[in-house]
Amino acid sequence: MAEPQKQMRKPKETGVPDNKQYMHPTLVKNHGNWKYHDRPRPGVLHHVSHSGDQVWTVRAGTQRQMDVHTIRKLCDIGDQYAEGHVRFTIRSNIEFMVADEKKVAPLIETLEKNGFPVGGTGNSVSMMAHTQGWLHCDIPGTDASGVVKALMDELYDEFRREEMPNRVHMSTSCCEINCGGQADIAIIVQYTKPPKINHDLVANVCERPSVVARCPVAAIRPALVNGKPSLEIDEKKCMCCGACYPPCPPMQINDPEHTKLAIWVGGKNSNARGRPTFMKMVASGLPNNPPRWPEVAAVVKKILHVYKEDARSWERLSDWVERIGWPRFFEKTGLTFTKYLIDDWRGSRANLNASTHIRF
């Protein structure tokens, strides 16, 4: 083994590359000197610099999980219309910058002709932030790219228009860790049964003390099962979060029937108006139903529809609920408020109503 190691190439520990070498020249020239922007139409941003320079940005949706042919197609479009530079947004939209307004219309036409919807700006429903799912994650309860594809097909028009009261950010997550993050509307796996333990494998696969330590409610303890060192779960304590599964795959939390989906609303990342907020669970028990998850799509669309009709301009989903109150949110969306939505985790009493503020 010593011989081949000598030939191994040492990594160049270069870290984050310098972004200026890839940046559109108008952006480099006006770096830190922008004055204002407006949006001539959905999917297009127009920025004006103090220098008088202008740049138009055309934003388009992608599938995030891209094959090299799609990437090359986007590069062709970038070469033809956008001076050979692009960037990506946090929600996997691609942006083409052009210094010449005349290039905007043909760029939009070419993108849409090639199947890339132009939109995702301003008060639209932007592309959903999503995770890896069945395609590539080691602990997923559901898929990610498929859920997003199915949902974005349904929300296609809302991506291409700016007709919502304020921007709508959405996310999906394939387990309760929620890598998808906080969003106005989020779809997250919710396990409903304690893990089934494969006692034959625990001793060989899992470091038992760290699995015990991982449980948020101390429901796991070491045990000898069939003469082998294993683990056992106090099923009365277990709240089915799945935290034990990543460090110990024999704690099988995933199940085709009992892995459900929950809908959360009202997360806000921005500090605009109120402080940032965490989202709240408003529905659960939805079936994990590939390939198009129609039950989930129906709930998401209902919430979006009511928000669109009822919220005032500039109200994010959380602002809207703050005005109308949770009882009316459930009434208007037709969702059912159950005991499972009353927080009982640590600090939960801060979420209870300690006032006479009640809307009638």
Partner: protein
């Protein structure tokens, strides 16, 4: 030509509809790549049985301990042989993007060519931590792919209990709200801690994120251990021409209902021009011949709302820098946590100012490495030991901006009170 495709009725259903289809993309790759033929079979099996079938492992590149996410198939036949042998190893390389995710088409083509040669041809722009994710290499090809990606000027990101890949917004490159050079801070900070990225040795993950203004487009308060968010100390700037242009288009109802009424601290008032206060902390701008907006900057919490609505007419001040928050994280294990203010204002005007973020990062990472329990994030650590102890540990002074309100219970031993007051007063007098 690759081998014959598997039947994929579930995935086929994701080819219809207007949104770009990842399945169509995978099928195009599967024309030439056996590995993608089997990846589609693997994924179809998940759709049919509603379960995932990848397991992790340990795999890396020479010289590094992290940055590769190994994936081995768990779909095996009765003899333990993989049912989808060409996708039996399907590893991911996490690669750090340039700050702001800017690319030339040349470099994108180069990266695509490398991944077509050594991997499946499937790339995600980008993963949730910000990495470019090159998905689908065999164990043998991971090193070859990395060598070429590395020669192209890119480096592996973080995985496991390590400093993670960072993200920054488009910021100064194209946004008028930007309050510092996000790309510079991002690159300077992360490139100061490459050893902590490439050789995982922390209690758990540690994330930096950089947003140029309080709109926090990187969601850094909720997603990072150290959130650097642009802000300013002086008055909101105004531009009368743009304010009048905005008012002419939107009118009085929108000005009142969408701007004035949404101010969270009632710092904005609509006034007749002749009644506008003359005061060093007041920003005022006429919207027509009779009326003006008056902002008391002492009451303003820099939330960005009015600036977002009236971009250009109102703008961040010139005394710019960042508010730094520590301890944001996702659910496991104690529930979601947002970051807490640890530095109310860090000026970011010159090189030394930027160096101070690196120094603060170093102090916090060192403290985290020494004091966090295994698999504990900074937010959980702060909850366990208390913010006051954390601040003492990293050498920062307490500040009333760090709390929403002072404590509401008496359960604290205060026999050091007089000493603390004296210490704080002496420090203030010396400053």
């Amino acid at each position: 030509m690759a081998k014959k495709p598997h039947d994929t009725p579930n995935l086929d259903a994701l080819e219809s509809g207007p949104w770009p289809s990842f399945v169509t993309g995978l099928k195009r790759l599967a024309k030439d790549k056996d590995s993608v033929v089997d990846l589609l079979g693997h994924l179809e099996h998940s759709y049919a049985t509603r379960k995932g079938y990848w397991k992790g492992g340990t795999l890396g590149v020479y010289g590094y301990g992290g940055g590769v996410i190994p994936r081995f198939t768990e779909i095996k036949d009765e003899n333990g042989k993989p049912v989808f042998p060409d996708a039996a190893e399907f590893h991911t390389l996490r690669v750090m993007p340039p700050a702001g995710m800017h690319y030339s088409t040349d470099i994108l083509r180069k990266l695509a060519d490398i991944w077509e040669r050594h991997g499946s041809g499937l790339i995600a722009f980008h993963g949730q931590s910000g990495d470019i994710m090159f998905q689908g290499a065999t164990s043998e090809n991971v090193q070859k792919a990395f060598d070429e990606i590395n020669e192209a000027g890119f480096d592996l990101g973080g995985a496991g209990p390590a400093l993670r890949t960072s993200m920054s917004c488009v910021g100064a490159a194209r946004c008028e709200q930007s309050c510092y050079d996000e790309g510079k801070a991002h690159r300077m900070v992360i490139n100061s801690f490459l050893d902590d990225i490439h050789r995982p040795a922390l209690p758990y993950k540690f994330k930096f994120k950089f947003s140029g203004c309080p709109n926090d487009c990187m969601n850094s308060i909720q997603r990072s251990d150290l959130a650097v968010i642009g802000t300013w100390r002086d008055n909101i700037r105004t531009d009368e021409a743009l304010a009048k242009k905005w008012f002419a288009k939107h009118g009085m109802n929108e000005l009142v209902n969408d701007v004035v009424a949404h101010c969270p601290t009632r710092a904005i008032q609509l006034k007749e021009i002749k009644e506008v206060r003359k005061d060093a902390a007041v920003s005022a701008v006429a919207v027509n011949d009779t009326h003006a907006l008056e902002i008391d900057n002492r009451d303003c919490v820099r939330c960005m709302h009015c600036i977002n609505v009236m971009t250009g007419a109102l703008a961040p001040g010139k005394d710019k820098g960042a508010t730094i928050l520590c301890g944001g994280k996702r659910t496991l294990k104690i529930g979601d946590q947002m970051g807490t203010v640890v530095v109310p204002f860090q000026p970011l005007q010159n090189e030394e100012d930027y160096e101070q973020i690196v120094e603060l990062g170093q102090k916090i990472i060192d403290f985290f490495a020494e004091n966090a329990l295994e698999h504990e994030r900074t937010g959980e650590m702060i909850e366990r030991i208390g913010l006051a102890n954390f601040l003492e540990g990293i050498g920062l002074d307490v500040d009333a901006n760090m709390v929403k309100a002072p404590r509401s219970n008496p359960y604290v031993r205060t026999d050091g009170w007089d000493e603390e007051v004296a210490k704080i007063k002496a420090k203030k007098a010396a400053a």
